[in-house]
């Protein structure tokens, strides 16, 4: 059964526009000019129960707006929405018992109180019986390794610790679907990895459907089998992550610094993007040349002082999707 069904969903925002200058300010007082912005532009997709879906795209692509519509906070301008068979806009309260949300940039925990107090409050709000709640908290505390943190005021927790508590808080009422909006934003590599593992575990053991937005390609690679890429409110790609990875995420960026003057011998699959006197930026096509090969080649050049390997930013991946003609879904715009 489908957990989420979306058809032709649109969200228009009306924002006031004002030109520069004092004169324009006065004019805007009497005759405000509005501009319509399409935050979400006619998107359709289905998420099956138990699936982990990545909803990715650059900042301002419409990811959060979509989540807010799916959870009933924003009302769609047009289109059809069904979450667990309910209409979020009109059945928000009933739906809220069965979904959980985590907004990575916001907190649902009381800042001055230990997470335990927030958990008790949420337990009451979701009408969870005391004994059941206690069992659930113990279970989540063990799984998320937050047992020691539950008695510490939230303001004293590190971001990674806090996010673990946030995710646990959103799972207290055992939701069928968990919406995660940028859950790993601002976390270091280790903490990111932790959160991803926990999410995977929840999905595997409890069959929780997971809808995740992110602009971190790592979240998608490590968590999801399927990804939807959105840009300017439109779906530009809806594919298995494997295929996406092969088609578009086949590049790594290597930044290298040398101890002295250097000379690079050409090799297939590696292109020089930028070079300075002591350093260079290389782009590696991993389909032609593996990272392993690239490293060996680089070391062979001699005199390497430092190497950093990065994924290309989301924006670049999206650009390459457009360039590639976007074989699915009508090729974007």
């Amino acid at each position: 059964m489908a957990a989420i069904e979306v058809e032709g969903l649109c969200k228009l925002y009306r924002t006031r526009i004002k030109e520069e200058g004092l004169k324009a300010s006065f004019r805007a007082l009497t005759r405000p000019v509005y501009k319509e912005v399409k935050a979400v532009d006619n998107i359709s997709f289905t998420v099956e129960q138990g699936e982990i879906l990545a909803f990715i795209g650059p900042n301002g692509a419409g990811k959060s707006t979509t989540i807010k519509m799916l959870t009933g906070i924003l009302h769609p301008s047009s289109g059809r929405l069904s979450v667990l068979g309910m209409d979020p806009a009109t059945q928000r309260r009933r739906l809220s018992y069965r979904i959980g949300t985590v907004f990575g940039q916001k907190s649902q925990l009381w800042f001055h109180l230990p997470p335990m107090d927030s958990f008790v409050l949420l337990g009451a709000i979701y009408d969870i019986e005391k004994a059941v709640l206690k069992k659930r908290i113990d279970e989540l505390a063990e799984r998320f390794e937050i047992g020691d943190l539950l008695k510490t005021p939230v303001r004293k927790l590190s971001l990674g610790q806090r996010i673990r508590c946030e995710v646990a808080a959103s799972l207290l009422h055992s939701p069928d679907i968990l919406f995660l909006d940028e859950p790993t934003i601002g976390l270091d590599v280790v903490a990111k990895h932790r959160i991803r593992e926990l999410i995977l575990q929840m999905n595997r053991e409890q069959g929780t459907t997971i809808f995740l937005t992110s602009h971190d390609t790592g979240d998608m690679e490590q968590l999801c089998r399927r990804a939807i890429v959105i840009d300017h409110g439109r779906i530009i790609l809806d594919e298995p992550v494997k295929k996406l990875k092969y088609d578009y995420m086949n590049r790594k960026i290597i930044a290298v610094r040398f101890t002295g003057e250097y000379k690079l011998k050409e090799i297939d699959g590696i292109t020089l993007e930028k070079s300075g006197r002591l350093g260079a930026r290389l782009s590696v096509d991993t389909r032609v040349c593996s990272i392993d090969e690239a490293m060996r080649w680089l070391i062979a050049q001699g005199g390497v002082a430092d190497i950093t390997v990065e994924d290309p930013p989301m924006e670049d991946i999206i650009a390459s999707i457009f360039e590639g003609g976007g074989q699915s879904l009508g090729g974007g715009r």
Binding site: Y13, R16, N59, G60, S64, T65, K68, T71, G72, I73, L74, H75, R92, R93, R94, L95, S96, Y97, I99, T101, F103, Q105, K106, S107, Q108, W110, H112, L113, D117, S118, V120, L121, A124, I125, Y126, D127, P153, D181, E182
Partner: protein, 263 residues
């Protein structure tokens, strides 16, 4: 019953929260004392020029302590809180929960208000006793009835505040409403009792809600009379009901067109 339990837990947690964050109350206590002290001196100077009808100096000082208590005690921060929540987008967390948002805000604010009323109440009694001493002929038997009026004043104040605060769901900037409301409560009863206003303004003020937040309850505490009680309570009940209905209406209107900012 199960429903009420949910909201009482909200109040309990918010009370725990203000207690954990009590240092913020200290500044308020200082400000309250300063305010009372300034007006105490002002009224003393005025009364030197002759007795003012309706209130003895002692009653006036107590009146001052109580109106300020209502206003300071009611400071729940709900207005700013809602504004911040909409602007930062945290509102997303508060809306998709199985409770009524307005009721949640009320019981949440109640925790703050209980805490504030207790600490400001103690301070008000101490300051009143130091500066004015006990009111001659004060009847403790009528105090509970006066407190009903205090309670209704708090309800009116809260629900007007939340009605205005909810405009944040639709408007980019709504701070002006807050200022206007605050000043009306201040001018029509807090700064000076309604009896001291010009006759024409008095007759208007008695039909408006603002004087029933601070003036009516404070008057009943310092100079209780059954006549006034039966005159004030029905009006307060009507305004309490109106403000509650307005807040519910504003909520259902606002939530349909909420502009959720912040990504």
């Amino acid at each position: 019953m199960a429903k009420l339990r949910k909201y009482l837990v909200v109040t309990r947690i918010s009370l725990q929260n203000v207690i954990a964050y009590r240092s913020s109350a200290l500044g308020g206590l200082l400000f309250y004392s300063l305010f009372i002290f300034v007006f105490f001196n002002l009224w003393r100077a005025i009364y030197k020029g002759g007795e003012v009808t309706g209130y003895s100096l002692t009653q006036m000082i107590w009146y001052l302590c109580i109106t300020e208590l209502v206003v300071f005690g009611c400071r729940s921060g709900v207005y700013n809180q809602m504004n911040d929540d909409v602007k930062s987008g945290s509102i997303a967390y508060q809306l998709n929960r199985p409770y009524h948002y307005v009721m949640f805000q009320f019981f949440n604010a109640l925790g703050n208000m209980v805490f504030n009323l207790v600490i400001y109440g103690i301070l008000a009694i101490i300051l009143g006793l130091i500066m004015a001493g006990p009111i001659p002929g004060f009847s403790f038997a009528s105090l509970p009835f006066a407190l009903i009026s205090v309670f209704l004043g708090i309800i009116i104040n809260f629900f007007f505040m939340i009605t205005l605060g909810l405009t944040a769901f639709r408007l980019e900037e709504n701070f002006a409403f807050y200022l206007i409301y605050q000043k009306l409560v201040f001018m029509l009863g807090m700064f000076i009792p309604v009896e001291f206003l010009p006759k024409w303004l008095q007759s208007i003020a008695l039909y408006l809600p603002f004087s029933y937040v601070a003036w009516a309850p404070a008057r009943l505490v310092v100079a209780f009379s059954w006549d006034l009680f039966w005159q004030v309570i029905p009006v307060q009940l009507v305004w309490a009901l109106v403000s509650i209905l307005m807040s519910l209406g504003m909520y259902s209107y606002g939530v349909k067109g909420i502009q959720a900012h912040g990504g």
